[in-house]
C-alpha cells in the first residue's frame, strides 16, 4: 500500500520538480526504469505468492538496474549498444509480461 503511494509520490515529484538526469546517465535511464519495473512486478508477484522478502526485493531491484545499465554500457563500449539495449528491453519485457500474467491469475483467478 505504502509502495503504491510512494510510486505515485515519485511520479508527481518527477513530473513537477525540474529534475534532469545527469548527461552521462541519459542513455541508460530508460533501461534502468524498465529494469526497475521488472523488479517491482517480480516483487508484487512474490508478495501474492507470500514469499516476499524485502531483502530479496531490494537486492533484486538494485541488481536488476545495475546489470541492465552495465550491459548497455558495455554494449556501447563494444559498439553494439543499440542492439544490446534492444535485447535487454526484450528480455525484461518478457519477464514483466509473465509476472503480470501470474499476478493477474492470483488476483482475479483468470
Amino acid at each position: 500500500m505504502i509502495a503504491v503511494v510512494a510510486l505515485v509520490a515519485g511520479l508527481i515529484a518527477g513530473r513537477f520538480l525540474d529534475l534532469t538526469a545527469p548527461d552521462w546517465l541519459d542513455p541508460y535511464l530508460p533501461i534502468a526504469v524498465v529494469a526497475a519495473l521488472d523488479a517491482v512486478f517480480g516483487g508484487l508477484r512474490a508478495r501474492l505468492d507470500d514469499v516476499f522478502s524485502d531483502r530479496v526485493f531490494v537486492v533484486s531491484f538494485i541488481s536488476n538496474v545495475v546489470v541492465a545499465v552495465l550491459i548497455v554500457f558495455l554494449g556501447d563500449r563494444l559498439g553494439v549498444g543499440s542492439q544490446l539495449s534492444t535485447a535487454v528491453v526484450v528480455v525484461l519485457g518478457i519477464r514483466i509480461f509473465s509476472n503480470a500474467a501470474a499476478i493477474r491469475r492470483r488476483l482475479f483467478g483468470a
Binding site: 500500500m1 505504502i2 509502495a3 503504491v4 503511494v5 510512494a6 510510486l7 505515485v8 509520490a9 515519485g10 511520479l11 508527481i12 515529484a13 518527477g14 513530473r15 529534475l19 534532469t20 538526469a21 548527461d23 541519459d26 542513455p27 535511464l29 530508460p30 534502468a32 526504469v33 526497475a36 519495473l37 523488479a39 517491482v40 516483487g43 508484487l44 508478495r47 501474492l48 505468492d49 507470500d50 516476499f52 524485502d54 526485493f57 531490494v58 531491484f61 556501447d76 559498439g79 549498444g81 543499440s82 539495449s85 509473465s98 501470474a102 491469475r105 492470483r106 488476483l107 482475479f108 483467478g109 483468470a110
Partner: protein, 249 residues
C-alpha cells in the same frame, strides 16, 4: 520462474491474494519498498519528460549520434551540390539576360540576311541604271550580265523595274520583253542597286561592259547610269519555306 498452479475459481485463494497485497509487513520492509518504488516513479517521470523534450538527441547513444551526424552531413553535402548547380544556372541566366549585345547581334544578322534574301526593304547610296530599248533588242542575257556585274561590284540589294533581284531570281526571254520571277517586264528597264555608287558605275562602264553591250545591241538601245546618294528599295522577294534543307546546328 516457479509458476504456482492457479487456483481458478477458488474464491478463498483470491481473497487470500488480495489480503496479502494489502497486508503490512513491518515498517522497515515497507519503507525500503517505498523508497525504491518512489525512485522508480521518479525515474519514470524524468525519462518520460526527457523523451518528450525538444529532441530525442539528448538520449541518443554515441554511435547513434555519429550515424545521425553522418546522415546530416551527407544530406548537407547533397543540398550543397544542388545549391551550387542552381547558383550556376542563376548566374548563366543573369549573364544571358544581360546579354543584350548577343541579342542585338542576332537582330543585326537577321536584318542583314533579310536584305540579302530580299525579304526586307533596303535603303542607301547606289546607282540607277536606265536601259532604253524602243526596238526590244535587249534580251535577258544582257540584263543578267548587268545584274552579275553589279553584284561583282558589291551591290547589296538590287531591284529590276520593281522586282527584287535575289540569288534565285530567273530571267526569261519573251517576245515583248523579259519575265523576271514571273513578272512581265517591258522596256525601258530600270535597275536600282544599293552599294558604293562610283564603284558600281565603273563596273558597268568598263570597255566591253554592260553599257557597251547595250549600245552594241543597236536600234536605239542605250543605258544611262546615275549615281544617287539615297535609293530606297521597297520591293520584296517572297521567301518560300524550305522543304528539304534544315539548318545544321
Amino acid at each position: 520462474m516457479s509458476e504456482v498452479a492457479s487456483p481458478t475459481g477458488d474464491g478463498s485463494a483470491r481473497r487470500r491474494a488480495w489480503a496479502l497485497l494489502w497486508h503490512p509487513r513491518g515498517w522497515r520492509a515497507e519503507l525500503l519498498v517505498a523508497v525504491l518504488t518512489a525512485l522508480l516513479g521518479l525515474g519514470l517521470a524524468v525519462t518520460v519528460r526527457t523523451q518528450s523534450g525538444p529532441s530525442g538527441l539528448a538520449l541518443a547513444r554515441q554511435d547513434d549520434l555519429v550515424r545521425i551526424l553522418a546522415d546530416l552531413s551527407t544530406r548537407n553535402q547533397r543540398l550543397q551540390q544542388e545549391l551550387t548547380g542552381l547558383q550556376d544556372t542563376a548566374q548563366r541566366l543573369r549573364d544571358d539576360a544581360g546579354g543584350d549585345i548577343a541579342l542585338q547581334e542576332a537582330r543585326d544578322r537577321a536584318a542583314q540576311l533579310g536584305i540579302l534574301a530580299g525579304t526586307l526593304g533596303a535603303q542607301g547610296p547606289g546607282v540607277v541604271v536606265r536601259i532604253a530599248d524602243p526596238a526590244g533588242v535587249v534580251r535577258a542575257d544582257v540584263l543578267l550580265d548587268a545584274i552579275e556585274e553589279l553584284r561583282d561590284a558589291g551591290a547589296e540589294a538590287i531591284d529590276l523595274s520593281g522586282v527584287r533581284v535575289v540569288t534565285s531570281t530567273s530571267l526569261i526571254d519573251r517576245d515583248d520583253g523579259v519575265v523576271v520571277d514571273g513578272h512581265r517586264l517591258a522596256a525601258p528597264y530600270e535597275l536600282r542597286a544599293i552599294g558604293d555608287g562610283p564603284t558600281l558605275q565603273k563596273a558597268l562602264d568598263i570597255p566591253g561592259g554592260v553599257t557597251d553591250a547595250v549600245t552594241a545591241a543597236g536600234n536605239g538601245a542605250a543605258a544611262s547610269i546615275s549615281v544617287e546618294s539615297r535609293i530606297v528599295i521597297t520591293s520584296l522577294h517572297r521567301a518560300d519555306a524550305f522543304h528539304y534543307a534544315q539548318p545544321t546546328p
